[in-house]
Structures are given as C-alpha cells and as structure tokens.
Symmetry: C2
Subunit: 205 residues, 2 copies
C-alpha cells in the first residue's frame, strides 16, 4: 500500500503520522536535554483519557530521575539494557496496581460496589490490571512521542527484583521500563527492521 493510499485513509496529517508511527524510532542514545515532570504529567493527561476495561486505569509509573534512584534500577535490568538506563535522562518503570479496585467507586460510579466485589477476587484483579496496564503502556509510548519525546522501551529485566526494590510498600508490579529523552535527531542509526504486512497479520471473514 503506497503512502498516498495511506494518507487518503487517515484523519491525521502526514507529519503527525510520521511523528507517532512511521518515522519514530526506538532510541539507544539520548539527548542530554532535560525531560521535565511537567512533560510527563502532560503525557499522562493524554494516556489517562484512552479506554480501559470498566475504566480501571491500572497503569502506574515510577519516574526514575535522580542518580541515586537510577543506581537502584540499573542492577535489575538485563545486562544489555544497563548502560541504556544509566545514560537516559529519565526512565519510567511502567507498572500496574493490583489494588486498582480501591478507586472503583470513583472511577466506575455507574455500578456502585464494584470496589468491594473486586476486593474478594485478587486473581481476577491481577489479570485485569496486567492486561489493561499493557494496553495503557501502548498508549503511553505513543503519547510520549506526541509530546516530542523519544522512547526506548525494554522488558529485559528482573521484574521481581524491581518490584522488591521499589514497590514493596505500594504493591505495584513492573511490566517494562521506558527510557525517555527529548527527540533531537535521527535516533537509532541501524536500519529499520522489517514489518509483517497487512496480509500476514489480518484475516477477513
């Protein structure tokens, strides 16, 4: 399918499609420019609006900025990812909160009592939180790009180690780490890897 055909079928302009999807690249080297807390809050204010099952919104983020915090995260990353976390101006530990049900009376007022029902179903909550936070992680990566930021998502890490290090009190559970930097150039220089085409990934009946 040609770019012309693509453009014809989109409701966003070409530059935006490039920024969010087509030209954005996972980064392994980072601009030194600061990624501010205000930028991350603005990104979150987009992410939070996208849908989750029963409006559960289980995504939680630990924003790792200080050198001390970074030193605590690095040893729990896979060896190939450690230098990347050390070098990035900001790393987000993307996690979910299995205790999301404590917010349900606020988040899902149309069905009162869902919080209490979920309280008795920890396995259902675990599955629901993980599934929906991963959906939200997809929104997050695109929202970071929408804020002019580059992303380096990684899930080569010791999840249990990260959870013990950072989440022993609040009970969050880690899913991935996303390095974040101000987008300032061509990004990763290696060639783009191939993609499956629509005919390989979609069946129609």
């Amino acid at each position: 399918m040609s770019i012309d055909t693509l453009t014809h079928d989109l409701a966003i302009d070409d530059a935006t499609a490039d920024l969010l999807f087509r030209e954005a690249r996972t980064i392994r080297e980072y601009s030194d420019a600061e990624v501010t807390d205000a930028q991350i809050a603005a990104v979150y204010d987009l992410v939070k609006m996208a849908p989750t099952a029963m409006n559960t919104q289980p995504l939680r983020l630990l924003s790792v900025r200080s050198p001390e915090a970074r030193e605590r995260l690095v040893p729990h990353m896979a060896e190939g990812n450690q230098a990347r976390v050390s070098a990035a101006p900001l790393s987000l530990v993307v996690a979910y909160d299995p205790a999301f049900h404590r917010h349900m009376d606020t988040l899902f007022p149309q069905v009162p009592g869902m919080g209490d029902k979920f309280a008795a179903m920890p396995e259902v909550r675990e599955e629901m939180a993980r599934t929906n936070a991963l959906l939200q992680a997809g929104y997050l990566i695109l929202a970071l790009r929408a804020a002019g930021l580059s992303t380096g998502p990684m899930n080569g890490m010791d999840f249990a180690g990260v959870d013990a290090e950072f989440f022993s009190e609040n009970g969050w559970r880690s899913l991935l780490v996303v390095n974040v930097a101000v987008a300032d150039g061509p990004g990763t220089p290696h060639p783009r890897t191939p993609r499956l085409d629509a005919a390989q990934a979609i069946n129609t009946i």
Copy 2:
C-alpha cells in the same frame, strides 16, 4: 493542569490530541457507514511501525464483517456485549500468534537463529506474544482513531470459545474484540467517567 499547559508540552496540535485522546469516546452505537478493508489495512500500516520486544509483532487481527461471521462471534461475547457486536459494521478480534517465531529470521535478522531458539520455548513465546500483542492493541486503538474511526473495545467474552470457533487451525489466541465504526457524531451520550490524575498514578524518585 490546564489545557494551555498541556498544549504547551505537546508536539501534536490540539485537534489531533482531541481526536486521539481527549475527545474520543468508546462507542456503543454505530454509524451505518462502511468501514473498508483499505481503512483497516491503513490502520495496520501505522500499528506495525510501533515498537515490540525483539520486533516480534505478535498482533493478529480477525476482521469480522459478513453477517455469517458475525453470527459465529456473537454467542461467544458476554451477554451485555452481544447486541453491540451484532450492530457494529465491523468487529476486530484482536489476537496474538504464539507461533510468531516462524517470522523471526525475517523480523530480527541481526540475531540469526532466534526462530529456532524460540521454537524450543513455548512458554516464553506465549508470555512474550501476549505481552507484546497487548502493547500493540493499545497502538491499534489509537491508530483506528487516527483513521477517523471510532472504537468500542470489549473483553467481556469467552476467549476459549472464540479461539475454538475461529483459530483452531492457525493457533491464534484472542485478547479482546474491538467494534469499529466511522466516527460521525458525539458518540456515547453518557457522561465521561473520572480519570486518576497524574499525582495518583505517578511517583517520582
């Protein structure tokens, strides 16, 4: 955080932020306008470019269009979702392919032999496929909106029933169903449910 502050921190324009995140609503009633296969292919051509671990791209879509196919899907949906699937012009069964490794020599040429390594690790593949296809499902929902389409994602369904009905030959596994329609109005009339704010969802260290 005010809209002004948000806009300041974004690299996309306000109308696009509204289209993708802020004003888009999950729909329960649908325009009759046709959603074309070309539109879905254009959406997929955005989704495929966003990142997955080791470029695995495990997302697969079953596009359910014909009345006969729809009749096969409806009984596997939760009761509250059945009429929605019957009424939507198109429903996508969002799934993952645990046999994604058969494409790895093409998708991840920088490490030859990954396909064979994954072949011996079905549990690792299952987890990786599920995790990364859910990330891609997040990309998909935003990409559908980027194509001017409205989405109604649902995961109240009998996953094993759907898999037996549609995927007994190719081994795909269902994650959710997304009803798709041409966006043509205000969408769901009920009030928007509350969102957690950044201070509730983000810790910084």
